[in-house]
Amino acid sequence: MLAAFTLCLCISATAQTSRINGKVISTENNQPLPGVSVSIKGTTRGSTTNRSGDFSVVANSEAILVFSYTGFETTELPARGIIDSVTILLSPNPGDMNSVVVIGYGTQKKKEQTAAISTINGKDIVKSPVSNVTNSLVGRVPGLFAQQKSGRAGMSASDIAIRGRASTNSAALIIVDGVERQTFGDIDPNEIESISVLKDASSTALFGIKGANGVIIVTTKVGKTGKPKVSYSGNVGRVNFTQVPQFLSGYEAAMLHNEGENNLIKNGLAPSTYQKLFTDEDIEIYKNGTGDPLLYPSVNWFEAITKPNWLRTQHNLNFTGGSRAIKYFVSLGYLYEDGGFKNFSTPSGYKTNPSYTRYNFRSNLDFNLTPSTVISLRVGGRLENRYSFQANGGQGDLRQRFETGPEYLMTRLYSIPSYAIPFFPEYTNPTTPEMQELDDTYNQIEDFGRLGVNTFNPYAVIKRNGYVNYDNNAIESIFMLDQKLDKLIRGLGVKVTFGYDAYIAAARAQGGAYASYNVDKATKTLVNARATFEDPLGGVASQNYGYIKTNLQVALNYNRVFGNHTVTGVFVGQRELRGADGAEAPFANEGLVLRLTYNYAGKYFFEVNGAYNGSENYPKNNRYGLFPAVSAGWTISEESFMKSIYWLNHLKIRGSYGLIGYGSVGGTRFLYLDEYSNGGDNPTNGGANSIPNRRVAFGSASSNVLYPVVWHSRAGNPEVTWEKSVKRNVGLEAAFLNNRLSIKADLFDERRYDILLARNNSASVIYGEVLPSSNYGENYNSGYEVELSFRNSDGPFKYGITAQYTHAKNRVVKTDEPINLPANLKMTGRSIGQFMGYQVIGFYKDADDIANSPTAAVAGTVMPGDLKYADIAGSSDGKPDGIINDQDRMPIGYSDVPQNVFGFEPSISYKNFTLSALIQGVSKVHSNVFFSGGNYYESMLGRWTPETAATATWPAMRPRATTNPSYSFNDFIMQDASYVKLRNVEFGYTLPLPLTQRLKMESIRIYVNGQNLYTWTKFVGLDPENNQTSAVATSFFAGAANSIPVSRIFNFGINVQF
């Protein structure tokens, strides 16, 4: 505002010599830039560009023209070389201190900030050709831990944690255009103007009871004054999996299986009468490759049913422009992502390949009704179709069936050895009834006697088991009235925001059953193994879901400058009601928000932020909490004594301190309710002990009477409250060398307390009942983040580099565990999610070694070549007790969330060419994904044998699916999930302006880019980002959720503006 005032004065002062005409164009989109200040260096004279970006200025030949515009690099140009007219290209400068950043309930100039906030621009977001916007944040924002855990089409959102985690649930609050939303991943990236990440107490206190995990604010684009512009962007890409398990061939797998069985017999772990799966002759046939593929299959099932690469395409068309009265941004988007599985023709006619299709729509309108009244409308909608074959048919909730289907198939597939089920690709996609017959028999062999229970033929599943279709419709709308009340009180305004969102989802599924076959080895004929035959698909099952959400905010804004004193204030009353699926109670919250800021002469900044808000989830007298934060900043470089340091452009220190809450913990709501229930389920007639809270049978077995019972069904805690977080932050910002080099560093910590835990592990069971959740857990999280950036925008050759590094480490201060738990088993003092397991000290050499070592009492009986675990504890004084059992587990490795994340973003441009890259990585992270019990993998070829004992890299073989002491979770089997990824590369070329103009267009840019292009990691099996939580530690493949490898994308695209 001050700047504009100055400019008005300048215009009136005019002088002589020559008149220079020109046009200012943004390098961002090759659009003319209106409102750019064009001044003559060393004078107060100058001009501004008009709506077409044109300017006209009078200057003498010695003058130097300075072009400056908020958010862009300031550029200087000597007048001497200018003959008549000139075109100036201005590059955006996100580091510009005058640029405006979206914060909670408003905006703020960067230079006025006292809080820890990072921003990412829309143009960086679109660099990543990903279908879920969360994935494009990876590595671009300091303090943001984002991990893409799946490569499944339409299901690939990243888990995001801001500054690591301070509690088990670390999900950040998401705000889109000022209104809370459940997700932002499905927004078309072309609609996004910016994303702000609010990290410290000062920036998040406004969100009170919801803010403690940090806040992500997404702002969509709005129209800008100017002539209508149409832009189209389209791209098409090839997708494939980054890293897939390396399965062994039929021969290798059979050979290892046989070796495993021999090991059992040799070591007395199986009786001499043990029937082996393969005879020596079988192994020989496998080795020679002469076996009938029916009896001696060698099938890589992963390759059999997935594609080597598949298609992804995205298109967006948007219109933007505006006049004095109205500004508009209208966008239409389309995205299609193929699913990575092969499309086999199915007898029932459904498609086997999953897919994700999304249509996005947005209309953002601003009406300037009067000079002091703006009415705005933000309507965003999307229609998403997700489709998949059905593998996990048992789920009653069709959404769940959809969400776990392909993952479930993959977990099973990973445990099918190549030798187990034959597959004849030549029979697939049959064209004749005869071929159909072959396909429906020879490709539906399920029980080959080599697999065991709970396994299935993956091809038969995707071909015959049916499909699930999941549609999701969302309308998210916001109506705003912004009324300036300067006439009442100067600087005062009121803003009313009403958000209305409607979500309707529908799932539709058809399931099928299929015949499965056994092979009669002698006759090579097929025997029906299951009583079902080729059933057509069952009836259509459908379910609808949905809810409505309303949000009302009434805000008073005050913004006034009194000489050197700038005062702003925001006071908001806010209320939200979000429906829930089914009969569940809606979610409600309301409260008051206050922000006061003061700065003196742009040097000293003070801010108070706070919220008094509440949630439906707490007892009546305990629903509201007060969450205050204070912060201050000192821009040292504005002090007069600093002005002489010419190489220092900016230096500021700032700090914040405050209390924030987190109330959406856990799945159970209304924990204060105490309830008894009446009735009870019938007792089982299947035996086992009676189950509490069921009806009790009396009478006799032949004529019994069931007596209903009453039981304490909910143990309520009337004192229950939200988690609290005290956050501190100290930050330093500096810019040097004409703003080319800048640094931003933050030191933070957080004490999270009142964490809800039930005392079920720490309190004696003699109490006799489950204890209610109470607020007593405590964690501490601390770390730092640094961002360094260097950019040189002078001349045609521009280059820049941004590097960022975040370290966050947490520790459990108080949790639900026994007071005298031995130190090696304690979680207190360790990171949340710390992996616990056995420490491996080598292989058992031989029977003598086993006999002379501590007794192994882990699952399974040890034999030579098994991993030997350290006996570290177990006796009552905490010393080794000569027995290796669960008492000897100890912290191994790190947790499943990395302690360090870093990003490195170089970019260069020369004239119309641009090249940028993003290298991102994490360290100090482990995973319990390991490929062991169910199948034979490449890594097992290095197994221990008496001959290779010295060089072995894997324990001695046992047949698959037998209890293996070496697979009790340990630090040998645990994987280091650190990685460095070439996360993103983009090479772009903007067609020369004359050519573009000849085509009657404003600009044309073509580019190639890619995501997840290369990974450096020690992790084997899947992508290191597919890593798992520490919850399950001993199964072959822990959990199904992340079983589809992360995907890589090569993409080609074009942006055109009319």
């Binding site: 009546k620 008894y676 086992a688 002990n689």
Partner: protein, 554 residues
């Protein structure tokens, strides 16, 4: 803003209403008595009950020489006990029983504390409610004392706010506590009535049959006093303790209310029997129910897993039908025709090779004369879903129960039956007075019912003890007695680590060749003297600030 604040209270009031509050439960006699009935659900009331993933699998007989558990995963609760790792988290009979009993105790304690404030109507008799809760609390404490010795005694429900870190009461205090509860329960049961629902003479009416009454209270006392008199808790062999035990059992005989079921074979498989003192009433079990299909019946009979496999050690305990042990050279035992002329209870309890079962011959043989070896349908060498010992249990497998078929059969879990107390009396009396007439009388009553000749006259006290111990092993086989008998006799070190044997059955041209063989190491057991008492679950010790003391040795 005014709008916002004016209706705040209503706006955040979203919780669903609560079905029933605690106050209402105990102001309504119907709800209150239902709360009391839930105490029954905490009993240990079936044979198969030890496995974590499949709670219908695993019985305590599989801790002993009675049977093995075919599957070898530790989380079925058997392997850790076999290996002496009672502290293992998978040792469910230690961990889960400890917490389950205290849950039952809490329920009973809450009910007992509220009984007097419930506005009962004339349709209920709160004293009978009280007696049931006292009896159940005694049952829960009995399950604890027989495992752990003295435990923490709670005669009221703990408040959340108080410390749960309490010291253990002594063994004697625990026994006294149980006896006191039983005394009061028995006094009520033997005097109070409730219309036609309960009378002291006839007990509960038909619809309430299965609730305990006087006989059950006496039976629990008799069993407790037998434990109390046995070597584990009677190191000085105090005869007075044996006398108390004998007298307590004799009281049941003297009630003249119970008698032996005539057919030993159907003992557990009838809706009612004069032998039953107290049983768990439950609906009949379908052949394809979890406990039958997944624990008792092997795939060869249509089930999924036949995991309860009697050992050769157990089979060898059955005498010949002439009353002589098979170790007696004059018994007529033929190792190559081992199943001929055995105690009739052998045929009632055990399924063996070549017997006729469900209309066909059982085939548990292996034929190694052909290559590859062939085997009978009821045995598979590599599969733990089939018997590891060449035996299954007929007693817990009503012949009408077909695997994978829904036809239901009765199989009662018997808490107390008259036959046990004849043996309890004989055992205690023999210890008290030697093999006097009553000892012979009641053991022989059991043997006669089974179709066995009486015990030879002139046995010494020690010989009589051995015969009674053997009689219990056979008569009470698979009914959850063997393990507890071994522990109270303090004979774990002698019996448990003995090599567990199976029968190898080879088929050849002339018939079958029977060879007892040792089972694989995973089925062999470890036992040391301190294991006669279970350890307090390790996590409980960890939770205590040094106040809760572990049993010696652990």
């Amino acid at each position: 803003m005014a709008v916002l604040s004016s209706c705040k209270k209503d706006f955040l009031q979203r919780d669903p209403s609560v079905a029933i509050t605690k106050d209402r439960v105990f102001q309504d006699p119907v709800l209150a008595s239902r709360f009391g009935d839930n105490s029954y659900n905490f009993l240990l009331d079936d044979y198969g009950r030890l496995s974590i993933p499949q709670p219908h699998k695993g019985t305590t007989g599989q801790f002993t020489d009675e049977a093995v558990f075919a599957a070898t995963e530790a989380n079925h609760g058997i392997i850790p006990m076999n290996q002496g790792n009672f502290l293992d988290p998978n040792a469910t009979d230690v961990n889960l029983v400890y917490s389950r009993m205290y849950s039952g105790i809490r329920n009973a304690n809450i009910m007992l504390s509220k009984i007097d404030s419930v506005p009962w109507t004339s349709a209920q008799n709160p004293k009978l409610m009280r007696a049931q809760q006292l009896f159940l609390r005694a049952m829960f404490y009995f399950e604890l004392v027989k495992r752990f010795g003295g435990v923490i005694l709670l005669d009221r429900a703990l408040e959340q706010t108080e410390s749960f870190d309490l010291p253990r009461n002594t063994y004697d205090e625990t026994v006294a506590f149980i006896l006191k509860d039983l005394q009061e329960a028995e006094q009520i049961f033997s005097t109070e009535s409730q219309g036609t629902v309960y009378t002291p003479d006839n007990g509960w009416d038909q619809g309430n049959s299965g609730r305990p009454a006087t006989g059950a209270a006496k039976a629990l006392r008799a069993r407790l006093l037998l434990v109390n008199a046995s070597p584990l808790h009677n190191p000085t062999n105090d005869v007075a303790k044996w006398k108390r035990a004998a007298d307590a059992s004799k009281e049941i005989i003297d009630m003249n209310k119970y008698s032996l079921h005539t057919n030993y074979k159907t003992l557990l498989q009838v809706a009612s029997s004069p032998e039953y003192i107290w049983i768990k009433v439950r609906p009949a079990r379908p052949g394809n129910s979890a406990s039958m299909n997944d624990f008792i019946i092997p795939p060869s009979s249509g089930g999924a897993q036949g995991l309860l496999n009697p050992t050769q050690n157990h089979v060898d305990l059955y005498e010949m039908s002439n009353g002589k042990p098979i170790t007696d050279p004059t018994s007529g035992y033929d190792p190559q025709d081992p199943y001929k002329n055995r105690d009739p209870r052998f045929y009632a309890n055990i399924i063996y090779n070549d017997m006729t079962w469900q209309g066909r011959k059982i085939q548990m043989w292996l034929n190694i004369t052909v290559n590859p070896p062939s085997y009978g349908t009821d045995f598979q060498p590599g599969s733990n879903s089939y018997t590891r010992t060449r035996y299954y249990v007929a007693k817990l497998w009503p012949e009408a129960a077909r695997g994978n078929q829904s036809a239901a059969v009765i199989l009662n879990f018997v808490f107390f039956r008259y036959g046990e107390f004849l043996l309890n009396y004989a055992e205690a009396l023999n210890e008290q007075s030697g093999p006097v007439g009553d000892v012979y009388k009641y053991v022989n009553e059991i043997r006669t019912r089974a179709g066995m000749p009486g015990l030879p006259v002139g046995l010494t006290k020690d010989q009589m003890r051995e015969r009674i111990h053997n009689e219990r092993a056979v008569e009470l086989a698979f009914e959850e007695h063997r393990w507890w008998d071994i522990l109270r006799w303090k004979k774990g070190v002698e019996i448990i680590p003995k090599t567990i044997m199976a029968m190898d059955v080879e088929k050849n041209a002339s018939g079958f060749k029977y060879t007892p063989v040792a089972l694989a190491s995973i089925y062999q057991r470890v036992f040391q003297d301190y294991m006669h008492l279970y350890p307090i679950p390790r996590t409980e010790i960890y939770k205590s600030n040094g106040i809760l003391q572990q049993n010696p040795g652990w």
